[in-house]
């Protein structure tokens, strides 16, 4: 479950709803009650407000710490750093330019771990890899002159045709800047 939440963009959507729905319910309940059902001043004691405030702030802090703490393992920056020096990883060079991608390799095997090293030669582009079902596996923003190549490690776990796109608007043929990887 935790793996799904952090390795699939729909996981982010689920967490989003987990934050938003309770807020919506509480907010509309209070507004409805104090605007229409009983708008008289509340008799709630001041110390209760204080207790609610502390409880609410603590709940938010704990939720934020848990959500971010659990994500550390899945941060691409951490994954990439943990694989530094691993000789089993295949290095693949990616060059982005208006409006095409150049790859040193474009066919991979299931289970293969690849370190993509990407750069842009003209304007701001991105190197974004989409799963065969359409969702985004990762994107890398490439700014020319950034001083170093972008790097990211990815393991292909399923066969299929993966679409590579530029997700940073780069001019009038931006939409045409795409290519494919084949994973067997």
């Amino acid at each position: 479950m935790i793996e799904f939440l952090y390795t699939n963009a729909w996981g982010a959507f689920i967490v989003l709803l987990a934050f938003q729905i309770p807020f919506l319910i509480v907010f509309f309940h209070i507004v409805n009650k104090k605007a229409f059902a009983d708008s008289a001043p509340s008799k709630t004691k001041p110390e209760k407000y204080s207790a609610y405030r502390h409880g609410w702030t603590a709940l938010v802090l704990v939720a934020f710490v848990v959500v971010n703490g659990a994500s550390i393992k899945y941060m691409p920056t951490i994954v990439e750093a943990n694989t530094a020096g691993d000789k089993n990883i295949k290095d693949v060079q990616v060059t982005a330019l208006s409006w095409a991608f150049q790859f040193s390799e474009s066919e991979f095997k299931v289970g293969e771990t690849v370190r993509f090293k990407a750069k842009s030669t003209d304007t701001v582009h991105s190197f974004a890899l989409h799963h065969p079902d359409g969702h985004l596996l990762f994107t890398m923003m490439l700014i020319p002159g950034a001083g170093t190549e972008g790097t990211l490690v990815h393991t292909f776990t399923e066969p299929g045709e993966y679409t590579v796109r530029c997700l940073e608007y780069c001019g009038i043929a931006h939409h045409a800047m795409k290519n494919t990887f084949t994973v067997n």
Partner: protein, 499 residues
């Protein structure tokens, strides 16, 4: 009679919404009314362009139309609509609360720079300068080199952008700071006295300072480039400014904090207005101290959370900055949580009068919080790599502007009787709020779901899987447009106040 009143009187349809009587309050009413009216003219154009984008895809009119309309739509919504509306309402509020004139040279210069700049940019875009509202430097220059648009359109477009930025980064903040801290108080203008200890006033000053401080580096970089384009600065002087990394960073430090400044300012305005609508007539927030603490947390955490725009350029953005941006982005949520508590505790403690003005403000606040959650989720480093550049990010930028506009439109409802001596049409306003909220919810979840499904933002050729999201964008976009038409009608159908 004020020049602003004369202009309002001559504008068809929109002029009727903001007709101002000539009286002793003209110094705080006339120019803000003109600015608000002009912002809605820009909105009308931008909204049609917004709805046209999914329509262009369905009718297969071509990507060039799409990129033209996305550039115009984004630029018009963010600057001459939302920012100008915010400036109008905050100048009116500051004037009426502090007893200072809002009709001096700063206000007229703001109006001219903002609207002439936006017009020049519009002309440049119509001539082919399709860079999107985030500019994406060095694309404007690369576009000239690759024949996508001409050098003339680049100079015209940059001139327009420079005028708009000057109005936002220098003229407006300096005017707000002058009103807040300097000058003589005119008691005839001071309709509702407030001190600088008031959370509403503090929020306004914080917002102005954020714009001035975070915008100045962008003005230096963009100004250097523009002076080179005019032939005044030689190329060797501006090499540093033409560096893509330099430009992108100063741009996003400002662009990110522009949204935060507008958010801090509007939360301050909510803190000012909510107590005026309490059922027990107490005119108090639950706690001014907690409200001010929330503003400080939002201010301090938001400034450096801009790093979340660059997480995916690892390792050019060192991990330490990425984690800092991640933590600070979530820390803004702590400020948000205290704001939620202050608003709800005020409502619970004092009760509220369910006026259209308050309901549009509270609806806008809910929209702002819902969007804030989408913003902090995408500010987690792990999720950012899977969502950045998708419709999730585009949707966040759009719905935060919708939320801020709803909040200021609610504030405008509240101040409308003072500004125009008329009262809005209540039933039309209530219908507007319903459609506004439903369309917002529809657009929010459509864009976020599209992003989760991997649909790219700013892509002029949709693939078949994406059209289902496009259909919902069109439906809810038209509904939002209808909500705005109802808003206009609620002002058009306003009636004279009876004393």
């Amino acid at each position: 009679m004020s020049a602003a009143i004369k202009i309002i009187d001559k504008v068809p349809f929109f002029g009727g919404m903001f007709r101002v009587e000539s009286n002793e309050l003209n110094p705080v009413n006339a120019w803000p009314s003109l600015m608000a009216m002009t912002s809605f003219v820009w909105f009308a154009i931008a909204a049609i362009l917004g709805v046209s984008m999914p329509a262009i895809q369905f009718m297969e009119l071509g990507s060039n139309w799409y990129y033209q309309n996305i550039t115009l739509h984004g630029a018009a919504m963010a600057f001459p609509f939302v920012f100008q509306l915010m400036a109008a309402m905050s100048l009116h509020r500051a004037g009426a609360c502090l007893g200072k004139r809002a009709d001096d040279i700063f206000v007229s210069l703001f109006y001219i720079f903002m609207n002439v700049g936006a017009l020049l940019l519009t002309v440049a875009v119509l001539l082919g300068f399709h860079v999107t509202y985030t500019v994406m430097f060095p694309l404007p220059v690369v576009g000239v080199m690759t024949g996508q648009w001409s050098m003339f359109t680049l100079v015209l477009g940059f001139t327009g952008i420079a005028l708009v930025l000057t109005s936002m980064i220098f003229i407006y903040p300096i005017k707000i700071l002058r009103m807040s801290f300097f000058g003589q108080i005119d008691s005839t203008l001071q309709v509702a006295e407030r001190s600088m200890k008031d959370p509403g006033m503090i929020g306004m000053v914080m917002g102005a300072l954020v714009l001035l401080v975070t915008g100045t580096p962008l003005m230096i970089v963009a100004g250097s480039l523009l002076l080179h384009l005019y032939g005044i600065f030689p190329a060797e002087w501006i090499g540093w400014a033409a560096d893509a990394v330099v430009f992108e960073f100063v741009f996003y430090i400002f662009a990110h904090n522009l949204m935060e400044a507008m958010a801090i300012m509007i939360i301050g305005a909510v803190y000012s207005t909510l107590p005026l609508c309490t059922a027990d007539g107490s005119r108090k927030l639950y706690s001014d101290k907690i409200a001010i603490l929330a503003l400080w947390i939002l201010l301090i955490t938001s400034v450096t959370s801009f790093f979340h725009h660059f997480f995916t350029m690892y390792p050019a953005l060192p991990s330490t900055f990425a984690y800092h941006g991640n933590i600070m982005s979530f820390a803004t949520g702590v400020g948000g949580a205290l704001t939620i508590f202050t608003i709800l505790a005020t409502i619970w403690k004092h009760g509220i009068i369910p006026t259209p003005a308050l309901f549009l403000i509270l609806g806008g606040f809910v929209m702002y919080i819902l969007d804030g959650v989408s913003a902090i989720v995408i500010s987690n480093v792990a999720w950012n790599f899977k969502l950045h550049g998708t419709m999730w990010a585009g949707g966040h930028a759009m719905v935060v502007l919708i939320a801020i506009s709803a909040l200021w439109m609610g504030i405008l409802y509240y101040h409308y009787p003072l500004m125009t001596n008329r009262t809005i049409d209540d039933s039309t306003a209530r219908s507007c709020i319903k459609y506004f909220f439903i369309s917002y919810i529809g657009l929010l979840y459509t864009f976020l779901a599209a992003g989760a499904a991997g649909m790219p933002r700013r892509n002029g050729a949709w693939e078949s899987d994406w059209y289902i999201f496009g259909a919902f964008m069109l439906i809810f976009g038209v509904m939002l447009l209808y909500a705005f038409v109802l808003y206009f009608l609620s002002l058009r159908k306003s009636t004279a106040l009876e004393y």
